[in-house]
């Protein structure tokens, strides 16, 4: 991340200088950075709601039952997570929210999941295999109804805005499977 970040910024600076758009840097400092803060704040509410609900589910024992139910499925992908660990239900709930396109709810649940994974981590500065797997699945997640894309297509006057649902489903299934395979292969090294 360190190197990626550095090169993104330096490359951006150099390009701004070459193209004679140095004022862009100031614009980014003013607007994009503010967007980041607004995004974090806007996430706070939904985050609080889900963490509150998860706390209830944790105390009522619902999380345990849910984790047990999902165990056969998660054991394949996350062999290092012990049975009944709260990470499992958070991961599964994040996947469900992602599939349904509930973006901010998914992020809230996902953050909960990765915090739970961190409790299992022996070297806190380095990601575990389970974290890599979780993030790759999370990023490539299937979305059943890509609402924003449908909206853009409909606004542009598409005869059949929803015809891309099936192609998106197939494409993201392919990418998820490839991602899982890539993780499994790379973690073996």
């Amino acid at each position: 991340m360190n190197k990626i970040w550095f090169f993104m910024i330096i490359f951006g600076m150099i390009m701004a200088a070459i193209t004679g758009k140095v004022e862009v840097v100031n614009e980014v400092l003013l607007t994009d950075v503010q967007e980041a803060v607004v995004f974090a704040i806007s996430l706070t509410g939904i985050m609080a709601v889900w963490l509150g609900l998860m706390n209830i589910a944790n105390k009522s024992g619902l999380m345990d039952s849910f984790s047990k139910l999902m165990r056969p499925f998660t054991r394949l992908l996350f062999p290092s997570i012990p049975a009944n660990h709260p990470a499992i239900s958070a991961i599964v709930m994040n996947m469900v929210a992602n599939m349904l396109g509930a973006g901010n709810s998914a992020t809230a649940l996902g953050l909960k999941a990765i915090e739970e994974l961190q409790t299992l981590n022996t070297n806190k500065k380095t990601a575990t295999n389970a974290m890599c797997m979780f993030l790759v699945i999370n990023m490539s997640s299937i979305q059943i109804i890509p609402l924003t894309v449908l909206k853009i297509r409909a606004d542009a006057g598409s005869i059949m805005p929803s015809e891309i649902i099936i192609t998106s489903l197939i494409a993201s299934t392919v990418s998820t499977i490839v991602g899982i395979a890539a993780c499994k292969i790379l973690e073996g090294r």
Partner: protein
Amino acid sequence: MELLKMISVMAIPLMMTIILLHGYIKKVNLYDAFVEGAGEGFKTAVRIMPYLIAIFLAIGLLRKSGGMNLVVGLLAPITKFLGIPSEVLPLALMRPFSGSGALGILKDIIESYGPDSFIGRVASTMMGSAETIFFTMAVYFGAIGVQKSKHTVPAALISHFAAVIASVVICSFMFR
């Protein structure tokens, strides 16, 4: 289609109802438990904020300086060789960095080529299937203070590449 839409709308309220009902039956002190958990939400939001700022800054610079366009230009011959239409290349490249940036590009593509053109369909499919890698990593790893991401980047990029290729191939089959 309508059924799918209904499931999408119903699922989150349903999840909330089940959690609350189950908690009520098990005699959990719902209100206290909710408030106690919700307090954590603020801490997490504040904790991820610096990482969000860092990544928004880098992405903003890369986009607005024209750096992204240069990379697109350099990669065009390679992707042409792979059969990816060069019109959707900016989208394929932007997607790993920024969801909202990619959405802007998708809008441009659809407006200039039409939603029902081959290009428009490939772009829509790509948007629905490819991933926001660096943003997600910054937020999630930032939240827990992980600095070494191990094989997350290569695995995510491989997966993204698969999504891009799959979008083109599937659309070629379905729409041509």
